[in-house]
Every structure is written in structure tokens, then in C-alpha cells.
Symmetry: C3
Subunit: 263 residues, 3 copies
């Protein structure tokens, strides 16, 4: 058998593996994306799935420590991604009559260096919970836009002109202000980008997390959370993105966006 045929095949296989790891799109594409379940809302990039429960079982409601005033919950659950889902949930709570009940991060990304996530919305009415999940699912294509990756790691940037309750709950973002996050994996790239960002613009450092300081649940990421003037936060992100891409490409080759950059 010819070696170059083998090489061509291997190339395709490796490419496919990377796609699966980074975005989950291949896996999602193999699913039907629809379901006969009344609770099912939809699926999105990152092996993300959304449900709604109109009237949560009483004993489960207590075990999950959900505020008794929310009879209905919306569920946004993903194998790959935490920042994209949190920023999408931030838009969802702005746009709907729902609130953030809890946000949990798993150490996941299907063999990658980051997180999966479980976000619970609470609402008094099931239609509000459902609308929150729909808004978030629809926003994920945007919030995966500044997630860049290759087989060696990933970079993530998120920005909002006006942080709301999801960003406040998770990152301590000041509500109503411009806010961004800068994430790099392996973690050293996160440290490098954080330094570049903070030197590039006059922003306030809200928080720093690294693999074993309690913040990242043992993911191989370092990250900062920043606030300030809208222009300054974006400028800091641009500076970080430039050095981050050079660093990650030196380690693992081209690191394209998962969808389309939005910042």
C-alpha cells in the first residue's frame, strides 16, 4: 500500500479528531438534534443540550437546593465550554423573566484542557424558563466565535458591553459594566496573555484563576477577568489574542476560531 495514501488518510483522521475534541460539532451532527421529549429544547455547538422542567419533583428540588419560588427550571448542559455558555446565559437572563439558580463547571472538553458546564435557570413560569434556554442555545454560535484551538490547547475570549447576573454569579463581574475574560490552555499561555492584556490597556483585574488555586477545578487553564471602559476591555483582549495565537501556534500549528470571531 502506498505510503502517501496512508499519510493522506492519517491527516484526515487527525483533522477529524481535532474537530471532535474542540467543538463537538461532528458528534452533534451525527445526532438528530430533535427529540420527542416534551422537556427537550434543543442542541448547539460544544455538545450543548437544553431542557426545561415545568414542575421539578419536590425531593429533587430540595436536593438541588433550588429557591422554592422557582417551580420551573431551564437546563443548559455542555460537554465542551464554560465561558461560551455563561456569556450566552448572561444574554438570556437579560432578555427573559428568569434568573440564574446555579452554575457548575465540570473538568471536561472531551479530552481537551478545559471545562464543560451545567447552568440552571429558575422561573415561576415554564415558558420563561424555556425562553431562557432558547436564547442561550441560539447565542452559542456567537460566543464560541473567539474560542480558538488546535490539538495542543485553546484560547478563549469573551466580551460584553454590559455584564449581567450570569457573569456576576460566576466571575464577580460588576453588573452593568463592560466585562471580559481571557483564557489560555496550556495554562502558561494564559499567564502570558494576562500579562499582555493588563499592560495594553487601563483595565481593572477582577480575578485570576489557575489550575490548582481553586478557580479552575484542575483544568489546564490560566485566566483573568477584567472590567473597565468598553474600549479598554476590548483593547486588552486584542493584545492578549495576538500573543496567545502566536504562542499556541508555536506549540501546535494553526488555531482557527470554532465559529466566527465576534469581539
Amino acid at each position: 500500500m502506498k505510503d502517501d495514501l496512508m499519510n493522506k488518510l492519517m491527516e484526515e483522521v487527525m483533522k477529524k479528531m481535532d474537530e471532535v475534541k474542540e467543538t463537538g460539532t461532528v458528534a452533534a451532527a451525527t445526532g438528530t438534534g430533535v427529540s420527542g421529549l416534551t422537556e427537550f429544547v434543543g442542541t448547539a455547538v460544544g455538545n450543548t443540550i437544553g431542557f426545561v422542567i415545568a414542575n421539578v419533583d419536590k425531593s429533587l428540588h430540595e436536593a438541588m437546593k433550588i429557591d422554592p419560588k422557582y417551580r420551573s427550571i431551564g437546563i443548559l448542559s455542555a460537554r465542551t465550554g464554560a465561558g461560551p455558555q455563561v456569556f450566552a446565559a448572561d444574554e438570556a437572563v437579560k432578555a427573559t423573566n428568569s434568573e440564574i439558580v446555579s452554575v457548575e463547571f465540570a473538568r471536561d472538553t472531551e479530552g481537551g484542557a478545559g471545562h464543560g458546564s451545567l447552568i440552571i435557570f429558575g422561573a415561576e413560569d415554564v415558558s420563561d424558563a424555556k425562553r431562557a434556554v432558547e436564547v442561550a442555545l441560539n447565542d452559542l454560535n456567537r460566543t464560541f466565535g473567539d474560542v480558538y484551538g488546535n490539538a495542543s490547547g485553546h484560547l478563549e475570549f469573551q466580551y460584553t458591553a454590559r455584564a449581567s447576573f450570569a457573569c456576576n454569579y460566576v466571575f464577580g463581574a460588576p453588573i452593568g459594566r463592560a466585562f471580559g475574560i481571557i483564557v489560555g490552555a496550556p495554562a502558561g499561555i494564559g499567564v502570558l496573555m494576562s500579562d499582555a492584556a493588563l499592560k495594553a490597556a487601563n483595565v481593572d483585574l477582577v480575578g485570576y484563576s489557575s489550575p490548582d488555586n481553586g478557580g479552575t477545578k484542575f483544568s489546564n487553564e490560566s485566566m483573568i477577568f477584567i472590567t473597565g471602559d468598553a474600549g479598554a476591555v476590548r483593547q486588552a483582549i486584542y493584545a492578549a489574542r495576538e500573543v496567545g495565537k502566536q504562542a499556541l501556534e508555536a506549540l501546535g500549528g494553526p488555531c482557527p476560531s470554532t465559529t466566527t470571531p465576534y469581539i
Copy 2:
């Protein structure tokens, strides 16, 4: 080269990758499954391996905090699976003169969303420790029967008509009563199944765990532990399994059993 040949190849490759991820059977098949080591007992599904140590080194015995009365230990260690190994160990302590010394969960499953496990049996006599490991290894084909998976996640159900010391140690199961667990990944599927289970039958909720509440060691799973009448526990599991399969298939396509369903 024809595209459909390439597609066919990619399909086979993806299938193979899934098999490896979910059950470890391919990897196991490449090993000999036998060894010249006197301590070696055997291997099983889930990249599970079993050993026995007749007389544990004194300093290691202390460091592992093993009760001094157990000179001999049996070791059941797996890359993929925690529930299957715990329920197999439950049968092992019922059937042999051994006890559970410790059960630890690792965040593993070879890139998947769940756990690996390390279970230590204690016995005064090495033949008892060995027998416990043998019983557990032989039971794994059964306890992997209600583990369902695809590239996007997995579902796990376990049931025993009479919980023993392993289920009590790990899940707080009441000894001698019917007991079951319901696990879904990504975690949102676990929440959905838990709600369905608790609404379907009159069972008692023993515990709930999710990615970042301390219970699941950052796996991307939510799960409940239930007890009650044998029929009710099984009925709750059937209801959960039905909605869980629909949800996971909407996300990632068909999710077959790892071996053969037993519940």
C-alpha cells in the same frame, strides 16, 4: 481518491474511537490479559485490572491507612467506570470473607465524561482477597450492561435487590434494601432523568450529586441514589432510562449498551 471511500473509512475510525473511549474493550483486546506476576488476578471491561497482595509492606499499609487487621488486600482498578465496579464489589463482599477498605474515584474514562475507580478489599487471608477480586471482575460484564454511550455522553443505571457494604460505603445505601443509581452525562441529562425517576415511582432519594457540589469530583455527570421497594426502584430506573436515551440520542445519535442490559 473517492470521497465515499474516505467517508466510509472515517466512519469506521470514529466508531472505533468511540468503542475505545466507552468500554476500553479494544485496548484490552490488544493486551494478553495474562501475566507472570503472582499478584495478578485478571482484567475485564473498562480497562479494569485486578491484583492481590498477600502481605502488604508495613510502611505502605500505614500510608494507605488500612485497618491493621487486614494483612492481605485485593485491588480492583479501572480507567473507565465507577458504578459498575462498586456494584460488582458489592456482590464480591456478599460472596466472600472480605471487606471494603477504601473506594476512590478518579476523573477519568479515557477522555469521556465520567470516572475511573480504585477499590481496595481487605482480608485476613490472601485467598479471601483473591476470591473477592475474582468475583468482582467476573461480575463486570453484567454491571456494564446498563451503561449506554455515544461520542456525546453516557447513561448509567445500576440496581441491586439487596444493597451490601460497597453500596453503603460509597452511596450511603441502606444495607439489605433494594437500591439503584441513575447517572447521566452531560450532567443536564442526569438532572432530567432524576426528575423523571422520582415522579415515576414511590422511592426515597438517598443522595444527589452534580459536577461541582463535591460529589462527582468534577465529572460531567448528575446522578441520584434511590431506595424503596424492589419494584418501585426498578420502575424509577425504567422511566429514567427511557427519557435519558431519547435525550442522549438527540445529542449524539444511537447510544447502545456496553454489554447486555440486566435491569
Copy 3:
């Protein structure tokens, strides 16, 4: 299509997947390994990357809790490997005018059973920080020599005739004495090797870690840290390596060294 052609292809694919998982060399090979960044130092096996920051941003410096006397930091960050990087850093602090600022372990290895790592060196002068990172990167080919792996797990052994500050910081190694570590995954293999090592030679047990006792951050590894006479430490490692290889090969077939054994 002929089945044996398909089988041959699958074999090649599985081999390639293993390479990626265990050493990261394939991924690294796709990168350029050079970068226009002034902070970039280099890359090495295990998807390891090194940087230097001459003058860390003040707010980041505080958030990272770096001792104010170090203006400059060196960064050694890896997707795969903790022991190899710590022992390489140990040589780096011996050989340069730098110190260990922090060592953090992530639960990583790109879908494998172990860790990635983030090591920060501190120095008053940037040239010292840079030299430390260079020495460590150059030493990684050696320290990956006694890392053995297959699709089912891995074994790791490290040895130094004279432990320095990195080994002291991470493992509690007595400075200036012979010191070694013995690591096995899945964790049961680590227990088996630890017992064999401690029975084979008169060494002192410095520490024991397992998946869920706080030490290994939920990796699927058990490990011991040992000190004593140089000959005894090596003898303990040889005994562990012999049983470890037999056990891991029984589970997953041949488990070659990542580079070239050095102990």
C-alpha cells in the same frame, strides 16, 4: 472493500492516537516550534512550552501571589506530564540563579490518566529566568525517558542523586539526598509497584498519593515518593518497574518508553 486493508488502516490510526495521547509529539511536530514573541523560549515533548516575562504586570504579580523580590518570571507549562517537568525544573534551579515560585498540577494528559503542569520560576534578572526555562526544556527529553505508556495507562519513574528545591516544594523531598518517585496508572498498578519497591530495598517512604486522597487532583494514579541511599532508591525503582511493566502490558499490550530510559 477488503477487511484486512481496513484492519491495517485501523491499526495505524490507533497507533497514531496513542502517540498523540502519550507524548504529544505528533501535535508538537505540526507546530513550528518557533515564534516571533520576545517572551517565547521554546517547546518540548509533552506539549510543553516555555516563556519568560521580564517585568510582570503589577496587578497580575499580586494576583499570582509572587514574592515581590522577583520582577521576572520563567514559565514552564505542559499538557502532558508533571513529574518530568518537576525533575527538569529541579535541575534548572540547581544550575541557575532562580527559584521555584509555584508548581500547579492540572488534571490533563490530553485524555490520559495523569497531569499537566504549570511551573513558575522567579528571578531578579530576566536572563536568569530565561536560563532556568531553557535548562528545564532541554532536560525534558531525559526525564520523559522512564515514562512508559500504552492506550490503557502509564508508568513513571524519576530519580535524582541529589534532590533540590523543586522536588522539595512538590514532594517534600529532603534537599541534597537521593530521591525518587514511582507512579502507576490506572491507580491499582501504582499500589502494586509501591509495595514491590518498598519490599525490594531499604528506603524511606516520604509520601503516598492516590486518586481521591487530596494528592493527585483526581488523576487515575497511585504513587510513592522515596528517599535513602542512592543505590537503594534505584533498586526500589527497578523492582517497581519490573512488576509495573508486566501489569500494564497484561492490560494494554506493549508499553514502550516515551524517549530513552535514564535510570
